[in-house]
């Protein structure tokens, strides 16, 4: 069984993923160490053996090991890293803003739903996002409001989930 036809095309041309290896290696090592620190004062079993700390301890230790291996690989391959692709900066920026807005929309739901209620919050979220992602305003309003109503009907009326009413209730 070989996977030589699998789509590892990118790997053969200058290892572009390598640029992430340094950052991910460091994060993994730090995170593993944090786990080890946290489980230091966990209680032991009544018989004196390791209990709650055993598994997280092993996970933390292995994380440090794997992180170091990743860093080692980064160090070995660092010369062959292909320079980051130069794209139209402006285009990429607007996409990052879109991603930020999606994350923002979920945070908006978390903050606003108890006050504004489900229907208002999700309408604002979907209409806003659809408009921002490049659709005419009337399409955005129709599609956004319709989506909200469909979701509300399915979850509230069919599946009987008590969605927050907010100040409407």
């Amino acid at each position: 069984m070989t996977f030589d036809t699998a789509p590892e095309v990118e790997e053969s041309v200058g290892k572009p993923e390598n640029s992430y290896d340094l950052a991910s290696g460091v994060v993994v090592v730090v995170f593993g160490s944090a786990i080890l620190l946290a489980v230091r004062d966990y209680p032991t079993l009544p018989s004196g053996e390791l209990g709650p700390s055993l598994f997280p301890g092993i996970i933390g230790g292995l994380m440090i090991l794997m992180g170091v291996l990743l860093l080692g690989r980064w160090f070995k391959d660092r010369k062959t890293v292909r320079p980051a692709k130069e794209k139209g900066e402006a285009v990429v920026w607007s996409r990052w803003i879109n991603a930020g807005l999606i994350i923002g929309a979920v945070i908006f739901y978390l903050l606003a739903v108890d006050f504004l209620g489900f229907l208002t919050t999700v309408s604002v979220m979907t209409v806003g996002l659809i408009f921002r992602l490049g659709t005419k305003w009337w399409v955005a309003i129709t599609a956004g409001v319709l989506t909200t109503l469909v979701v509300w009907l399915i979850f509230n009326k069919v599946l009987l989930v008590p969605l927050p009413l907010g100040f409407w209730g």
Binding site: F3, T5, A6, P7, E8, E11, E17, Y20, S24, I35, A38, V39, Y42, P43, L45, S47, E49, G51, P52, F55, P56, I59, L62, M63, M66, G67, L69, L70, R73, R95, W96, N98, A99, I102, I103, A105, V106, I107, Y109, L110, V113, F118, V122, M125, T126, L129, I130, L133, T135, V139, A143, T147, V151, I154, F155, L159, L160, V161, P162, L163
Partner: protein, 502 residues
């Protein structure tokens, strides 16, 4: 057996189930045929619905959806040269070239019939192999379950595409998240930061919705798939031509079925890996092999790989139902749902809940038969399916991600978990970490820990039991073989290379 079967038939023959299966089928085709939306994403978004259904309709909806989505992934491959799901990626070049040469209908028709027969083959493998394995599994104790879970974790890392170090890290992340909450040996709160909401641990469902739903939306808006207008295809006589072509390549199809079923049973390996392996095998075994993916396109690799990816869907349920070890990400999600529903997969399922089990078998076969008419309609309406703009679709998915995770517990904590895992999933994929091991770690972590702690507390830390019990030892040796597989593969490769010049 006959008694169980008749009971199962009466369970399956209900309007509710029929409706659920039909709706899930249409949903699966829709998501599967949109490039960038995977079958796993479809499963994660389906879970909030399945959560409110009875066990059988819940399982049936996920089975039907995944079967349809894996086929529907072929549609955009042929029309716009983009696989709808990773399972169709292996033969995208052949499909597209066939379409350019006016044979797109044949490519899709053959894909449809090969998928349906492959799915039925995988279903039959499941029906016959699972009860036999369950007999073995009945003899298992906590020691064996520990090793089976470890074997699952090991296989998940070894099979995952790309770097194994990264696969291991992904697995460790999943395992770590599974330790959050009260520990099972003395009930000590771990990593809860004093929050009482986290005592019960991280809810699996919002984590999955974030990892596969929200993260995919982020990926799509940051690097949107290029827009391409689908090529129109002529669907006249589609099924008849496809059937005769498939018959001409019946050996290839059976080969694909066998490969797909075998790979599907491996934990962590799903339809996509099955398709790649079947593609490679078909290529090596064909006189035309070196021309695959070029020229006018070839139908043979489509037969092989398309049979394999759907056969893998069925056999992935073997380890899931017999050992409670998921065979791929979709079955991992299903396992999460089953546990919530109070259905504990494992050998006892074959005994105590035999009618439910037989119903699952029936649904499998029925879903693959239903795929033919639904798939036919999808091929005919494919132009329309591919015209749904991303700008509308992505916010709708965000809305479903939010409401889906909220509805699990009527709480905002779940929405927060979904958000965190969404960002995590995006970052991991960006840095080329596979996501499947994260899911397996999440699902298998508690199983590994529980069985280990139970075993050592039972015997007062006599670890030799893990090694000296015959079945334990056998499973351990199997784990070591899997672990050494990459090394063995290199060694064998080297030996063969040394032999050649002689």
């Amino acid at each position: 057996m006959v008694d169980n079967l008749s009971q199962a038939l009466s369970m399956v023959a209900s309007w509710e189930l029929l409706l659920v299966v039909l709706a899930a089928g249409v949903y699966g085709i829709f998501i599967g045929s949109i490039p960038g939306l995977t079958a796993t994403l479809a499963a994660a978004l389906l879970v909030p619905f399945a959560f409110f259904l009875d066990p059988l309709p819940a399982i049936a909806s996920i089975i039907t959806m995944s079967v349809m989505a894996i086929f529907a992934g072929d549609i955009p491959s042929a029309l716009v040269r983009m696989p709808g799901t990773p399972a169709s990626a292996a033969y995208v070049e052949d499909s597209y070239r066939l379409t350019q040469n006016g044979r797109g209908a044949l490519a899709l028709g053959v894909g449809l019939l090969a998928s349906a027969t492959g799915g039925i083959f995988g279903g039959l493998v499941l029906i016959f192999a699972a009860p036999q394995l369950a007999k073995v599994a009945l003899l298992f104790t906590s020691y064996e379950y520990f090793w089976v879970a470890i074997l699952g974790l090991t296989a998940a890392v070894i099979i995952s595409r790309g770097s194994q170090v990264k696969g291991t890290i992904a697995l460790l992340i999943g395992l770590f998240v599974s330790t959050i909450g009260l520990d099972i040996s003395v009930g000590f709160p771990r990593f809860t930061f004093g929050s009482s909401d986290l005592l019960g641990g991280i809810n699996f469902i919002p984590a999955m919705i974030g990892l596969f739903g929200l993260s995919q939306v982020l990926r799509n808006v940051i690097s949107p798939p290029p827009a391409a207008l689908p090529i129109r295809i002529e669907s006249k006589g589609l099924l008849r031509n496809a059937a005769s072509t498939l018959w001409n390549y019946k050996k290839t199809a059976v080969g694909g079925n066998v490969i797909g079923s075998a790979i599907g049973t491996l934990p962590g390996a799903g339809g996509d890996i099955a398709a790649w392996v079947a593609y490679a095998v078909t290529k090596n075994g064909s006189k035309e092999g070196k021309n695959f993916g070029s020229g006018k396109g070839h139908i043979q690799p489509i037969v092989g790989a398309s049979s394999a990816n759907n056969a893998g869907v069925g056999s992935a349920y073997i380890p899931t139902l017999v050992f409670g070890i998921p065979g791929d990400t979709i079955t991992a999600i299903l396992l999460g749902v089953l546990l919530v529903k109070g259905v504990q997969p494992g050998p006892s399922l074959f005994d105590s809940q035999a009618p439910l089990l037989y119903s699952i078998f029936i649904v499998f076969i029925a879903a693959n038969i239903l795929m033919i008419p639904l798939g036919y309609l999808a091929i005919r309406g494919s132009g329309m399916l591919l015209r749904v703009p991303n700008s509308v679709l992505m916010p709708i998915i965000v809305a479903f991600c939010v409401v889906g995770s909220f509805s699990i517990n009527n709480g905002l904590l779940e929405v927060g978990i979904m958000l965190i895992f969404g960002i995590l999933g995006y970052l991991l994929e960006q840095a080329k970490f596979p996501l499947a091991p994260v899911v397996l770690g999440l699902v298998l972590g508690p199983i590994v820990e529980k069985n280990f702690m139970q075993s050592v507390i039972k015997t007062e830390w006599d670890l030799t039991q893990f090694l000296t019990r015959p079945m334990s030892a056998a499973l351990m040796i199997l784990t070591i073989i899997v672990l050494l597989y990459p090394v063995l593969q290199k060694l064998i490769g080297k030996l063969l290379r040394y032999r050649k010049p002689l």
